[in-house]
């Protein structure tokens, strides 16, 4: 099933006779990269689960509007990214009203999270990443963990390649400073 191209999957999804089967294949092809893309931002599995499901529901609802100006893959990523950023904005607002800082709260939660299996160094890295602003965090994750091309990132985030390279460079420097200061 991983063998189906995006064009073939899209064709199946747009055909009423094969739409459910085609979409199910599409989910199986992209569920893991989309899930991990979201999870690295929200950190909590339950939140990531909700968001990945919302993402694919939105993909389903908007498939007929997909104009093929971008690849299917970057289009799905774009939806996932927007869902994640909206979620984090809402969560941030709640935390600002209560404790004042969402990132501090997330950093505290990672250590006690039963779905976090990293060592001290990996915990340190996650805390370092949390010090970055959200969009910069996205850029860093997409480059460092997902090894995404700048051109694809540009489509997903709507930012120029040059700006993304600069953002990534700054993110790396900030994380390095954080790691050296601990």
């Amino acid at each position: 099933m991983d063998g189906y191209s995006d064009n073939k999957l899209l064709e199946m999804c747009l055909n009423p006779e094969s739409e459910n089967y085609g979409f199910s294949l599409l989910i199986r092809k992209y569920q893991k990269p989309v899930y991990w893309h979201i999870r690295r931002m929200v950190l909590d599995h339950e939140d990531a689960d909700d968001l990945v499901q919302d993402t694919f529901v939105k993909v389903w609802r908007n498939l007929r509007k997909f104009r093929e100006e971008s690849t299917l893959y970057t289009w799905i990523y774009k939806i996932a990214t927007n869902e994640t950023l909206s979620f984090l904005q809402k969560k941030k607002l709640k935390y600002v009203l209560r404790t004042g800082n969402l990132e501090n709260q997330l950093a505290t939660q990672i250590k006690d999270d039963s779905y976090f299996d990293g060592d001290e160094i990996q915990l340190k890295l996650q805390k370092a990443i949390l010090t970055l602003p959200e969009k910069q965090r996205l850029v860093f994750n997409m480059k460092y963990f997902e090894d995404m091309k700048y051109e694809d990132m540009s489509e997903v985030l709507g930012t120029s390649v040059g700006a993304l390279k600069a953002s990534h460079h700054l993110a790396v420097k900030k994380i390095e400073n954080f790691l050296n200061n601990l």
Partner: protein, 174 residues
């Protein structure tokens, strides 16, 4: 193509080592986990959410919208009839016994004894209190017209409500 990719990866790695040696040393293994069989179950959970809904015909849709509007209209008309009935029957009610006691309580007395009421006193509460007769702060003058001690009559109250556009919907949350 594979050679280009390898070259690029090597260049990125060297670049990272140059600007962030601590980060470059780190293992990129994923420290996060998922519950068992999560990805096996996820597609079915998503497909259950997007099951193709029953297609409603245009005729069914129109009927549903029309019926709803008719019901809303019926509720509003009923509400207006109820209010008019209350106003009509309140006007002709005589004060006897228990009501006589309550008719001596003014709004000022009520507020003096229960100052916390002012927090909750808005037009809706005021109107409901006055019209419901739970506390009679209205008396009759010699001409048998309902007034309270401040000289506000029932008609004055209704005029006030009309001026302030306190609608039936606002009062009764239709």
């Amino acid at each position: 193509m594979l050679q280009d990719k390898n070259n690029k990866e090597q260049a990125d790695k060297l670049n990272l080592e140059a600007i962030a040696p601590e980060l470059a040393k780190m293992n990129k293994t994923n420290p996060f986990m998922v519950p068992g069989n999560y990805f096996e179950k996820l597609p079915d959970e998503i497909m259950n959410k997007i099951r193709v809904p029953k297609r409603i015909s245009p005729a069914e849709l129109l009927y549903t919208i029309f019926l709803k509007r008719k019901l809303n209209f019926a509720i509003i008309v009923s509400g207006i009839i109820v209010i008019l009935a209350i106003l009509f029957f309140n006007k002709s009610e005589n004060i006897t016994g228990e009501n006589q006691f309550f008719s001596n309580i003014t709004l000022d007395d009520l507020l003096r004894e229960n100052p916390e009421i002012i927090e909750y006193m808005d037009e809706t509460f005021l109107v409901e209190t006055l019209l419901a007769g739970s506390v009679q702060v209205i008396d009759f003058n010699d001409d048998n017209v309902m007034v309270n001690d401040t000289g506000i009559s029932q008609d004055d109250l209704i005029d006030y409500l009309s001026d302030e556009e306190i609608t039936t919907e606002l009062m009764y949350e239709l």
